[in-house]
Amino acid sequence: MKVLRNVRNWLYERLEWNDLIAPLKKKTVPRHRLSYWYFLGGITLFLFMIQVATGILLLLYYRPGANEAFESVQYLMTQVQFGWLIRSIHSWSANLMIFTAFAHMFSVLFFKAFRKPRELTWISGVILLVLVMGFGFSGYLLPWNTLAFFATKVGTDIAGQVPLIGHPIMIFLRGGEEVTGATLIRFFGFHVAILPAVVTSLIMVHLLLVQRQGMSVPPKVEREWVANPSAKREIKFFPNFVLRELMAWYAGLGVLGALAALFPWNLGVKADLFASAPAGIKPEWYFLFMFQTLKLIPSKVWFADGEVLGILAFGAIGLLWLLLPFFESDRVAGSKQWVTGLSIFALVYVIAMSVYGYVAK
């Protein structure tokens, strides 16, 4: 113990971190009956860290390339000790992360946490969600199986439908006119180099903003606190909130471990570039609501291609979503009914279309 103390003192003489951690000691977090929702962002961060760790482990055996990718994952899952578990954790954690990110977004939306002055936090968060879905989309192709091959074909074709810029984007994503081994190499690059760099930097910005501005209090609770100031409660960020958050992470780790061990992710069939799409093919659940919507739009709407119309509509809604804080009032009393209505509609729509897409033939 004396050694540890000496090391600490040696470091402290050189770094003097007291003023660095002082703000953390002063920082408080509002405490109320809805404060459990504050954990969702932290859990998403935790799952991202698991992704980084398991992703690095997978890189020890994964080989990109149309002739090797599937075989290398097969080898990893059948020959490498605990290979199946590492891959299963990576897949499950990816899915859970997207789920908690969505849940985090909707909780922020319903508690109006995106109001002024937190517009930038919202915008960075929405961009992060899109990037995380990009992680899912690019990672899905890497085992080079049939489902992934067709998902990539459809997904990149959707990008290609956007007027004017669509085709060059599709060529860039695919590394050619078709989905081939060249696409796999590009997606590998996006997945292990570009996206991690961009997402990590953006997470830093997102966290810095949260630290700087503190937690938002839901309007409902804020009204109660204004009416009855003695009801106002706060806890210290460090150690009280941090310890609670760690407990949430620990519980999350338990759920993740159980899912990964009990329901290991399977590998499927190797992609064949000259085979028909198998019956019952569907995208990952987080793309289902868009998939099902595009499936329902008729081929021609008035004079335009239904597909193009659908894609443009999703683009427009995405943009509105990104800019939502600018339409909302920063005062509790001035809260816009239509923004709340839109949020509820969006949540119901996403859930309903996902379920419909899941059960539909």
Partner: protein, 161 residues
Amino acid sequence: MATSGSGMANANYPSGTPIARRGFVELLLGSGFLATAAAFIYPVLRYIVPPQTADLGGDSVVAGKVGDLKPNSGKIFRFGSRPGLLILTAEGEYRAMSAVCTHLSCTVQYRPDLKEVWCACHNGAYGLDGRNISGPPPRPLQPFDVEVRGDEIFVTRRREG
């Protein structure tokens, strides 16, 4: 205007006087930086666009052999870099068309139970002539000509017009 011999003299100009010499240097520097940036960005932009590959398929391929297919069935064949679909109808007639769905480029298949061409991805259906008949596909599948020479089935791209 800028008659001062040294940079120091600029401080003597009343505010609002254009500092021509400094402006000139800034212009040089700025355009130099811009040119440098362009010299980096242009090759990178060209680099990320993959080179065109020739479609080695030509206009005609052997899609299969007589006897490969039973009546009322179909198979995928390779036409250059893209898949094609060869069908032997229940009536014993060969049909061929592109197997790339006009909706979102999935690979279609022949459904003997429906006697239709079907895309599993978004439930699109085409007739045996490639016409889009239901679901989201916006256009017909590109039809090919079929010719049986000896025991080989040749599929040929149709000439435009």
